[in-house]
């Protein structure tokens, strides 16, 4: 004999099934996450590419990239962005492996290791060009300023999947856009990374990720 409360709940489940079936409307199937991620990244890279073509300091950038460690660090930043965005799209759909969330970890580690090595080679100096803080606050503002519109655009697209695990998706998406902003910053960064500079870069990335997590409900 079923308890009365449970009986009521079962009746509600039955009523819910009838209601859901009766109100059913056809839906447009979402494209596979890899396709959606590729389209989003391609659009962003075209826009960013155009901006870089017009405004970047290519001469300084190419001179800096002649050093393998810096080139590797820059590439790792870009790969972190791409893998994090891809992982966010894949994680937004139910039933995919949780291991997708670990995809950006190796390039992220490489990025941090490259930056750390840069600081080590610069003798852990707290002072960069222009004094203690130098231009580093500009880097912070740049990363935040570029990340916010990108994150808004990415959240708007990810929202279509109505992710059931919004925290993971929000964290990956914001890591992706913050890494993308840090990647773009490399084109405007005339000096090698210092401890303060690295700390401010990472603070900006952390701020964006935390803000994304805080507003994750907009995804659902």
């Amino acid at each position: 004999m079923m308890e009365p409360g449970v009986q009521t709940e079962s009746a509600l489940t039955e009523r819910l099934i009838r209601k859901l079936s009766a109100d059913l409307q056809p839906v447009h199937r979402l494209r596979p996450p890899a396709v959606r991620a590729t389209l989003w990244l391609a659009t962003v890279f075209v826009l960013v590419g155009m901006a870089l073509y017009l405004f970047a300091d290519w001469h300084t950038f190419l001179a800096r990239m002649a050093v393998p460690r810096r080139a590797l660090e820059c590439a790792a930043t870009g790969v972190t962005a791409v893998t994090a965005v891809l992982a966010a799209f894949v994680s937004s759909v139910p039933g995919r492996s949780r291991w997708w969330a670990a995809l950006p970890v190796p390039p992220l580690a490489l990025w941090l290791a490259g930056s750390g090595l840069g600081c080590l080679q610069n003798g852990w100096s707290l002072h960069g060009p222009g004094g203690f803080l130098g231009d580093s606050p500009h880097c912070f503002v740049f990363i935040v300023g570029v990340s916010v519109p990108l994150a808004t655009a990415l959240f708007w697209v990810l929202r279509r999947a109505r992710p059931i695990a919004p925290l993971r998706v929000a964290a990956l998406a914001t890591l992706g856009v913050a890494a993308l902003a840090a990647f773009v910053l490399e084109f405007f960064h005339p000096f090698d990374v210092t401890v303060i500079d690295l700390a401010l870069h990472l603070s900006a990335v952390a701020l964006i990720v935390l803000a994304g997590i805080a507003v994750r409900r907009v995804l659902t």
Binding site: E3, V6, I17, L24, V27, L30, V93, G95, I164
Partner: protein, 222 residues
């Protein structure tokens, strides 16, 4: 291998057991694959708007969803609530299913997530706040409704109605929506979740907070 080589009879027995296990596992796999194929076909039809297929699909997935819910729920009412939440989520995200992929991982991911959400919610309730409505809160909600509905209280309602409307306007939109649907329109949690797009858990939290806030506003006004 745990058995010594000098024990051929045991090895044979163990070998036979393993063969039987493998056969059983293969049969299980075949059953699951057939079940998945059938559900995949139904879901494809559901995405195209086939209502009969949807009714059939929802009924067929209930035992699977219920089994997931039982892993995290202690009583039958919580299990049913988790089942309803999962069905609503399946409805909301049905466009994310890709028929080229297996159906069961998609479904179980939803069911497990919703039952874990329910478990977290109940744990939070136990630790910090009482989201389940107390009889007092239910009375308050009933009283609010009576004030506006009952003919005998028409005179009081003439002043309480606008006051109530004003108080409701001071609530955040989601709390107001939850209170209106669950307490004034007497919808079930599942129906309100379907109509509002909020999860069952979010509705429970919002209605509780709405009532707490209303109580605060009423005390301020006295």
């Amino acid at each position: 291998m745990s058995l010594p080589l000098a024990c051929p009879g045991s090895i044979t027995l163990q070998y036979t057991d393993r063969m039987q296990d493998e056969t059983a596992a293969r049969t299980d796999e075949d059953t699951v694959r057939r079940q998945d194929d059938a559900l995949r076909q139904l879901m494809r039809a559901v995405q195209e708007g086939d209502r009969d297929a949807y009714d059939q699909l929802l009924r067929r997935i209930i035992p699977i969803v219920r089994a997931c819910a039982r892993r995290h729920c202690q009583n039958a009412a919580d299990v049913e609530e988790s089942v309803q939440d999962s069905l609503l989520t399946v409805h909301r995200v049905r466009h994310t299913y890709d028929p080229r992929r297996p159906f069961l991982p998609w479904l179980t991911a939803i069911a497990m997530r919703r039952s874990i959400d329910g478990l977290r919610r109940r744990t939070r309730i136990g630790r910090h706040e009482t989201v389940e409505l107390t009889p007092l809160e239910l009375d308050e909600a009933g009283e609010l409704q009576e004030r506006t509905d009952t003919a005998q209280a028409a005179e009081e309602a003439a002043s309480a109605g606008p006051r109530l409307a004003e108080l409701l306007q001071r609530l955040p939109a989601r709390q107001r929506e939850a209170l209106r649907m669950l307490k004034l329109q007497e919808m079930s949690l599942a129906e309100a979740a379907l109509a509002s797009g909020q999860t069952v858990g979010a509705l429970k939290v919002n209605v509780h907070r709405a009532l707490r806030r209303l109580r605060g506003l009423v005390s301020e006004g006295r």
